[in-house]
Amino acid sequence: MTETRLSLDLQADICWIPLVQGVVETGAPVMGLDPGKTLRLALAAEEFILHLSRTAPGTRLTLTLSREASSVSALFQFESSPEDLWAMNLTAASEISQDLDQGMAHMGLLLASRVADRFSIALSGRTLGVTLFQDIIYPDIEKAEVPSTPLRGTLSAQACSDPADISHACALTMALYPEPLYPKSFRTPGNIIDRISQGRFHAGLVKDEAGTAAGMICWQIPSRRTVEFYGPYLFSKGDGIAQLLMDHLINQVARTEAITLYSRAATPDLPPGNFEPLAALAYKQSNGQKETRTLWFRHLREDMGCPVWAHPVLGPFLKGTYDRLFLIRTIREYKDPGGGRPARSLLGTRLGADKQEAFIRPMLDGTDIRENIQRHIQLLVNENYLNLFFTMDLSIGWQAALGKDLTETGFEPAYVLPYAGESDKVIFHYVHPHA
């Protein structure tokens, strides 16, 4: 499957809505999106244009429809003030309904962000890029029968992209490991296979001489300098399978730009001596119990240190963490330079399936950010999300400055992910006040 894209230059005017609909409705199915999702993407695109036609008529914009790995997306690029995007906040609906006159203009944006599976926002100079995603639907598979044939001959590790091998390994993993220890997409391996074919996901298998799979390790590259892995998954008993998988993974990523290799859900088969414990998360489960999950990481090369921004309330946490991990950081206190701060902030929210977790990420700063965080907490808690996380990039001053707002609204710093941004990121976990 190759990357396909289609683009259109136009002006924000309702007269173009049928054309935009047409492009999405005929383009997205060619890129593999099913009819239901195509309609949703067309609706999201339509609402987006409608919003711009009302709030900034005549704005020149480019619409790019593209297929990437396991999703089809519509990207809108135009010059605008990012402040106008506040209605993409997960919490905007209640505000809009409270003040319909003022809110109507933003209704389109609200709908567009709700109808899409995900969205992202990027600001480059004055050009704003808003991407609305729809994920391709793949068929589910059943757990596999675990074979009892013994392994034969020497074992070796190799990169794997063969659809049948991947599918079978996913089915074996589902049979042998509990759910939180593998990505949800293992249930629909078509998704994994498409992402592997585009270099967005990677898998390594250990096989015996007869070609029987003895284990699998998977990884992806969420940011320039981090690699996140899943596994190791062992399909048979055998000495050294886990170490072979680990060596394969490390050797594949060792000569890349990545510095941090980590896992949020490594299996108990992780061989000792390769990783450092990053944190022990008290993860809340649906039965009300807390389960401790250990996060593991290692560096792939020498750490040369870097500066990080921080609000003083985070000082003790950061210093403690950096000392424990022997990481060299110059902690710089971020002082709000004052002035020029927009009124309205924007938070991006990624909702996990089964309401287990929700991830909040600050996208745009604004003087209302503390209230905005509170509104998000309230909405997600009311909807019974069990674990709320907030990611802060310590290389971005205004984000680092949120330390106080976060700790005062019930978040606690849970762990530092080294080099997840230009420098490190801190992941906060929400502690229910009544817990």
């Binding site: 490390i250 000569r255 001596g273 290692r298 792939l300 750490d303 022997f326 060299i328």
Partner: protein, 373 residues
């Protein structure tokens, strides 16, 4: 407003290449890690410093000499090298470190679509230069920590232009003896260039160690690389060279930048090789004594290691090598992590004077007991 369309003008193999970022200066590292001294055990440098004759050259180098270009192709030094190795001047090409001659050789023989063959776990620059030149690097897994001659021969095809053999290998210290090397060269049968990188040859005194300078008399496709950075301790001056048959050198000369080697480097190198016997013996003695300290130490801890040739050894540590690096740095000791050499959880240590090795041993012992808590 026009934007620079880097995607359009940068070739794919350059876009996909991961740039290498060297470590920060010692002074910066020392202040970051909060230490007052730093033992550099990461770059296989000769801690004894250069031979005495080099001190005189460097001390005598005057500011008045700076406006004048150096000799463009190291005339005097090549003269000396020719005399020392019983060759002719036109068999030598001197570069800004042997790294520069690696680049010249690949440029001279390879175009897009060609390949070079080397090992997966060896000095990385052969692989890097090939990749950013759009040339395929076929990386043959080591066998028992050494280059695997059969597997390398199996990988040769009509697009193979160069085979790089690092002898002794950095970082494992293994080497091919004379029979293995001769058998390999016969099997290659002049189909391509065979580079024998002898960066650490002066550290080897085993009688079965082959000398590429002699082999090239029988096998004109042999090119040897030598450097002044390792034994002769001129790493800061950046000077190394290649030697081969005159026809081969004549081709490489076309792709080799002239004037790349500065005057103090040329003069220091000349001084270094003029009377080097005692200096080499003293350095070998230091390396031997360092091994005699470290090997029993690691044996005592039950920690596996590789102690072969060269002025370095490799150790398989019971924790992440990169964590060990950070913990040792806090104690003023800098080692090389081996994950980037595709040896996860190994470190490489330069072998230097006994007091420094003792500091290393103490720091290592402390770090291990902290890590195992």
């Amino acid at each position: 407003m026009s934007t620079l369309m880097l995607d359009r003008i940068v070739p794919r193999h350059i876009r996909n290449f991961e740039p290498y970022y060297p470590s920060k200066p010692d002074s910066v590292l020392m202040s970051l890690f909060g230490v007052e001294r730093l033992h550099r055990l990461n770059n296989n440098e000769n801690a004894l410093g250069p031979p005495p004759a080099v001190h005189r050259v460097i001390d005598g180098f005057k500011a008045e000499m700076v406006p004048v270009y150096p000799n463009g192709d190291c005339f005097d030094l090549r003269d000396l090298l020719a005399a020392k190795f019983h060759k002719t001047q036109d068999q030598f090409l001197v570069g800004n470190g042997s790294c520069e001659v690696i680049s010249s050789v690949i440029k001279a023989f390879c175009v897009k679509g060609d390949n070079i063959i080397t090992a997966d776990k060896t000095f990385a620059v052969y692989e890097w230069v090939a990749e950013f030149s759009g040339v395929e690097a076929r990386l043959i897994p080591l066998k028992d920590f050494g280059f695997d001659p059969e597997a390398m021969l199996d990988a040769v095809d009509d697009k193979t232009k160069i085979i790089f053999v690092c002898n002794p290998n950095n970082p494992t210290g293994t080497y091919w003896d004379r029979d293995t090397m001769t058998g390999f060269l016969e099997a290659v049968d002049q189909r391509c260039i065979v580079v024998i990188d002898e960066a650490y040859c002066e550290y080897v005194d085993n009688p079965d160690y082959p000398d590429a300078m002699q082999l090239m008399e029988t096998f004109p496709n042999v090119v040897t690389f030598r450097t002044f950075s390792k034994m002769y301790a001129l790493a800061a001056l950046r000077i190394g060279y290649l030697c081969s048959s005159p026809d081969v050198v004549d081709m490489v000369r076309r792709t080799h930048i002239v004037y790349s080697v500065n005057t103090p480097a040329q003069q220091a190198a000349a001084a270094a090789i003029t009377d080097d016997r005692d200096f080499i013996l003293a350095t070998r003695k230091m390396v031997k004594e360092a091994r005699e300290l470290l090997c029993p130490f690691f044996d005592g801890l039950g920690i596996p290691y590789l102690s072969n040739q060269g002025n370095y050894m490799m150790v398989h540590v019971p924790l992440s090598d990169t964590l060990l690096y950070r913990m040792l740095m806090k104690r003023g000791v800098m080692v090389r992590t081996m994950t980037g050499f595709r040896f996860p959880n190994w470190i490489r240590i330069s072998l230097v004077q006994a007091p420094v090795m003792t500091d290393f041993i103490n720091a290592f012992r402390e770090v291990l007991s902290t890590a195992q808590k």
